[in-house]
Symmetry: C2
Subunit: 381 residues, 2 copies
């Protein structure tokens, strides 16, 4: 093992090795086998391995499990852990080595996130699962860049166009504005949420209408990220973030998307939904702009003060004439279940029709992929 | 510090903390300051920090420097190193902790790569640098998905369309097929190479013609990645990879791109260029299909056997009538400089006109961003 450890740095000098490979006149020794992690077994259990010869304690943190698991150190300095058989899904995970969260050095699949780095493992399942790639026509993801006058920065947004979308045709499409959560970036819903795969499958099965999905950056101000999790202690910052997000969406992203794509512009063809912070943004933007949105979804939403009367001024049962769908979902093991139940109680008290959804699960992408799979088919009917 | 370390796991449980933040009725303590890394100073020196209380040795590996630097451990268990002032650029880097390469847990900017995880630091420079985002019109990046019959897998490619590109107009554009290197994925040239930013700037300055850039996945077979760096020892696999890559490009990606975009289809409007493995693919595909490509660029190319007569059968000075540009570049500190000089000597001996470019630098993205900046303006003149 000493030899293997001594060779580690070599293993990870691609330029040097490539150079050697490219020059076959040069002699070269074979490389030692790399650590394999994650290893997904036939019974869908997964072995995670992390080489760290001097750590005193290494834990595995897995999306959907609150308490990290202790890993066992092998004689070769590699810590490992094998799970029970897991439900087919994509799971985020990280190693916590002596208190420091690290991605898996043996796995190239990393979740984009502005605050925490996590790896991801795919436990494959039947093709009937909405996030598995099927042999169906695939839509396209477009990545746009612009300078935001509202936020004062250069930022991006993503747009999914469904299979067969052709900008040269006259056909128009309804649009879903789909918002990520706190710490995600604008790629979250495609890179982790697999929204494009889910929509491809639902559309191919005739379960969802062909729609365009616009996925903006979900921050009104990037100070919300610079302040890290403490940002949520700062009520003024939190409010500025929500306000400017709505302004950037309505005055920058929406007009751009509508000029760039064949998007229908009537409120009945416009939906807004999101997860966590993005769920709150969907409620705040949607319910306060019912002239623009008829379909609203909030998945595990949070970050709204409890004073719903102030958040949604003047909202009452008259809104039922405009709301085609108000879909409020949360996992029952999510710490946000209470605030979501409070919100739904307030909506009921106000006489505002809405759909209550409680599912198993915590504050995880496993829940949100299923939320999107259940929500998208209800739209534009 | 013990308290800080004890709180680390909490710091990195976004779901839990977010849940607490969302429920303001719950009391909550402020989080300790996170480790800041990388920290770019005013003089463009950079401090890297890595918390690892029990490691015996931590090194910093930085793109463009062959030998890793030793880092110093502080009393707080955080290893650190401050560089000399660096040239403005984007630099890949990683920590090597007791022989294991790790990305920076404090930095969300991670380079996509199929074999090695690396972080990235931006040392900002003047806006005249081609890879800095300027206040100019921005092109768009399109992400496409398809099933490859040649490779037998589901794969992707990216397309850059220049500012003002409008599929509804009749204007057509020349096209550059731009190929990544070994271990990169199809996003390499945009996510790391910043090709879209470089093209935006060159086009805005009138230095490059508005063009479409197609960036396919550069593997003919994914076995080339599954076998890791040892793949280069396997001559048959290497050859299969090159052959199938050409086949997938010519029979799958090119017809798709030409039907999806307003791309000119004459050879004088078609270029192919790439870095490292992609440079070799550009030479093999381009020089062996001069009926299709008039402009060829090879940046730090490698992986071709030295038997150029066999790689380019029948190629001779008659090709000069067809080749508008054959641009062969390599950094003088790159281990591949010898094979590139050999190639150029062979081209000279055959009487084939080409442009020799030697620049400072190793086998790095700093070289390739500059290569693209110099190469793109020469195209389609």
């Amino acid at each position: 093992m000493k030899l293997i450890l001594a060779l580690y740095p070599l293993l990870f000098l691609p330029a040097l090795l490539w150079a050697q490979a490219g020059n076959s006149a040069q002699s070269r020794t074979a490389q030692p086998a790399a650590v394999v992690s994650p290893e997904v077994h036939g019974d869908r259990s997964v072995t995670f391995r992390f080489p760290d010869p001097n750590a005193r304690e290494v834990k595995l943190q897995r999306e959907g499990v609150e308490k990290p698991f202790a890993m066992q150190k092998g004689e070769d300095g590699v810590w490992s852990l094998t799970t029970e058989p897991l439900q087919p899904d994509y799971y985020g995970y990280a190693f916590i080595a002596d208190g420091v969260q690290l991605v898996d050095p043996s796995n190239s699949l990393i979740k984009p996130n502005l605050l925490e780095n996590e790896s991801e493992v795919h436990v494959p399942g039947p093709l009937s699962l909405s996030w598995e790639v099927n042999d169906v026509p695939h839509g396209e993801i477009h990545h746009h860049f612009y300078h935001s006058a509202v936020a004062g920065d250069d930022r991006d947004y993503y747009v999914y166009t469904p299979p067969k979308y052709d900008p040269k045709e006259n056909k128009t499409y309804p649009v879903l504005y789909l918002l990520h959560g706190y710490s995600d970036d604008a790629s979250g819903w495609t890179a982790v949420g697999r929204a494009n795969v889910i929509l491809d499958n639902l559309i191919a099965q005739g379960k969802a209408k062909a729609m365009i999905v616009v996925m903006p950056l979900g921050y009104g101000t990037m100070e919300m990220i610079q302040a890290r999790w403490n940002a949520w202690e700062n009520k003024a910052l939190r409010q500025e973030n929500f306000n400017k997000f709505t302004q950037a969406l309505l005055t920058e992203v929406m007009p751009r998307a509508e000029s760039e794509y064949r998007i229908r512009k009537d409120r009945n063809s416009r939906a807004i939904a999101g997860l966590s912070m993005g769920g709150s943004e969907s409620l705040l933007t949607g319910l306060n702009h019912l002239d623009k949105f008829a379909w609203i979804g909030a998945f595990s939403s949070g970050g709204i003060p409890e004073d719903f009367d102030k958040d949604f001024p003047g909202l009452d049962a008259k809104a039922n004439q405009q709301i085609r769908l108000l879909w409020v979902a949360c996992g029952t093991e999510d710490h946000l279940i209470t605030v979501n139940r409070n919100l739904r109680a307030w909506l009921t008290q106000k006489g505002i029709q809405h759909t209550d959804i409680e599912t198993p699960g915590m504050h995880t992408w496993m829940v949100w992929r299923r939320n999107l799979t259940a929500f998208a088919p209800l739209l534009f009917r």
